[in-house]
Amino acid sequence: MSSDVAKSACERIDLAFSNPEANARAFKDAGGKVVAFLGATVPVEIIAAGGAYPLRLKGGSGDTALADELMEPVRELYLRRIFNRLLAGALDWVDLIVVPRSSEGLLQFYYLIDYARKFRGHTHMPKVVLLDLLQTPFDYTIAYNKARLTELKAEVEAVTGRTISDEALAGQIKLYNSVRGRFRNVIEQQGPAGTLRLKLASFGQTQPAAEFESVLTDLWLGSSQISKGARVALSGSPHETADLYEIFASSGLDIVAEDHDWGAGIYAHDVAENADPIAALEERYRLHGISMRQFVRAKPEYDVSGKDVRPEAVAFYFEENDDTLGWEYPEERKRLADAGIATALLRGPVNSDRCLAALKDLADQFAARTEGGNHE
């Protein structure tokens, strides 16, 4: 692998992380259709099979003044920012937005868009559809979900004007499985540092599968990009930005695994290739789609390949208005303590004093261990 190619891959990853919509806009400008989505439970295979560009939306770093007129401040910041962009017309170029019912916040976001369109005159916004994919493990849920995915297929067909055949869907399932496998290999064989792993995972959510595959093929990490420092697994609320990862890194800690829905875990599970495509997608996203409503969540110390990364600690980060994931913390803390793994509780927002203080405590613990010669 030439170092120029590898460097180029890293630059592409950084570029996509800082400007995740550039390629989608170029695709649109060239006459293509862009179907945006939120969360990690929308089957991108369906969007891609229709010939549209699948783009997972991020909140970015903009303000929320417009959104705050209609959104309560307790809502997730990334949703307030996306809503602000929608109201401001910054996403009018998108052809369709798919909102999954994979958290109450997302569902309420869907209804609020409907409200803004009907009652506040924001008719400029792109069409938004709800994907009511449930995640309970019941037979009747499976039948319900398959019907919803078939409806989503029809919505994408309406946008692109192209019928999605089973063969086309099967082809995209195979392609995305291949890319997921390649991602897992890169993580396992090269062990990128936490920040880079997050950016690489994010790349696959905003760039086409072929581009993702190309980056994964070209990527070869130098020593400065490989995980080092005390090994910490991160559990809890999602992180679409690298802010927390960078603070960890600057404290001598590296996040080696995470369970949130922008992390590597979104590539942990493939879609069955020898089954009916809709049925296979239903099973994969219902069981393994990382979300607030995922019925059984993965253990945070396991990586994208299902291997125990043997972290020295698990840091639990809960955003400031978390009402859900914190219920798992006491039992998880005990389970990990029984396994000899330290835990830390970080409360949002990321740069708040309480978050930074808790992180410093964790870093100090590791520093003390190192000084005492106990650091492995």
């Binding site: 409200y115 309970t136 208005n321 009402d323 859900t324 219920w327 006491p330």
Partner: protein, 429 residues
């Protein structure tokens, strides 16, 4: 018409209110005798779940909200809040629905109200928010009992004026694919209920129960119309709450039909006899969102000072508008329609605000006070858009933020001053 033409019943609760209180006492004594003492199977269920199934099977149902309110009323909530923190649950997690679980985790019968809840046959919850499954699974695990989860499908389109379709054209309103799913869930629930309680579910009994709920709803509508059309409010908010809620918790029983009829009769008689709780009434107010259960006297705090009377809250007639589901053949599908739509109608902005505006118009209300629970994301959803819609329609709204379970955090003087200022400056008298 002068005030003197109205007879004051300011200090006279409705006669039927005593029956409502007696019925709730009877319910508790029955539960205590049968389940707490004799060990008969009972079920813990969320307030918005289909209790009708268990009523039909004569299985006692305890709502987690009821027990939470008992814990608060006995001023035990601070102890359990401290326990939550000691156990490692962070302070921003919603507390209202988790208090009962804390009594189980604490396992101290000396402290828990009524000695704590015994092990139920089942805990039933509807997965509307994201955390219900987590609390329920932990609670069931602590008890060593089974849990049943009703998943919450999402309404695709919010057809305006839901209350016009909700009773007879609910198939259109709630979307057939959702109803199909909910029926499947109810069938599964019935199977589980029969297994864990050892009792049979009788469809004929169930059909009778569903008809009686509709009849009780008709009575509540009659009461609501009498209050709305009265020149001066004939019944206080606490009276409305105690009577309608007793009928709601006992829905399906003949008692609830008889009681709501007596309730409507008495209100109509008051209107006819020109009896008013505040003869000096100058303006009518609506109470929005959650009830202020630990301080119901607050509803009446502005009658003497401002001539302002709270005439309506969502509890006044939800039994009428939300619960009634008429059916020809399939009572289970009607129950599906009822049990999958409650929160949505009461909390999604256009549905919530549309219904409130209808009440404001019919009651002739000039303003509204909305209570938003602090530290509870789920209860906050939609409140800002709802206020936006109400204000744009010309109904002034004051939003109050308060804890639902910790009376220590309620500054009564400050809240009275805030509402008083709102009435003086924003409400047309």
């Amino acid at each position: 018409m002068s005030d003197a033409a109205f007879k004051s019943v300011a200090d006279q609760p409705l006669d039927v209110s005593a029956n409502a209180k007696a019925r709730m006492k009877h319910w508790f004594n029955d539960f205590r005798t049968r389940s707490m003492e004799a060990g008969e199977p009972y079920v813990i269920a969320s307030a918005v779940s289909p209790h009708e199934i268990f009523h039909t099977m004569d299985v006692p149902v305890v709502t987690n909200t009821w027990y939470s309110s008992i814990i608060s009323a006995k001023r035990q909530s601070p102890y359990y809040f401290d326990l939550m923190e000691k156990l490692g649950y962070h302070s921003d997690l919603p507390r209202y629905l988790s208090l009962p679980m804390m009594t189980t985790l604490d396992n101290d019968p000396e402290r828990a109200p009524y000695g704590g809840l015994p092990k139920p046959a089942l805990i039933l919850d509807r997965l509307r928010g994201d955390y219900a499954q987590r609390i329920t699974s932990k609670w069931a695990s602590a008890f060593g009992c089974e849990a049943f989860y009703l998943d919450a499908t999402a309404q695709t389109e919010l057809i305006p004026n839901w209350w016009e379709l909700a009773q007879r054209d609910w198939e259109t309103l709630y979307e057939s694919h959702r109803l199909d799913y909910q029926v499947e869930q109810l069938k599964a629930l019935i199977q589980v209920a029969e297994r864990v309680t050892g009792r049979k579910f009788n469809y004929d009994d169930f059909e009778g129960e569903m008809h009686r709920i509709n009849r009780a709803g008709e009575n509540v509508e009659r009461a609501r119309n009498a209050i709305a059309s009265a020149e001066k409010c004939p019944v206080s908010m606490p009276d409305q709450l105690s009577n309608v809620m007793a009928a709601t918790w006992n829905r399906g029983s003949q008692w609830s039909v008889d009681h709501t009829k007596a309730y409507a009769d008495e209100i109509e008689a008051r209107v006819k006899n020109r009896e008013a709780i505040c003869p000096g009434q100058k303006t009518k107010l609506l109470w929005l969102n959650t009830g202020l259960w630990f301080n119901t006297a607050f509803y009446r705090a502005f009658e003497e000072s401002h001539g302002a009377v709270f005439v309506w809250s969502m509890y006044s007639n939800y039994l009428s508008d939300g619960y009634r589901k008429y059916f020809d053949k399939d009572p289970l599908r009607a129950l599906a329609a009822r049990s999958m739509s409650m929160n949505e109608q009461l909390h999604l902005p256009p549905w919530m605000a549309g219904w409130i505006l209808k009440q404001a118009e019919d009651f002739g209300a000039s303003g509204a006070v909305m209570l938003t629970p602090v530290g509870d994301r789920l209860s906050s959803y939609g409140t800002r858009a709802c206020i936006d819609m109400l204000e744009r329609a010309g109904l002034p709204v004051l939003e109050l933020s308060a804890s639902m379970v910790d009376a220590r955090l309620w500054d009564n003087d400050a809240m009275i001053a805030e509402v008083g200022d709102f009435i003086e400056t924003r409400v047309q008298v």
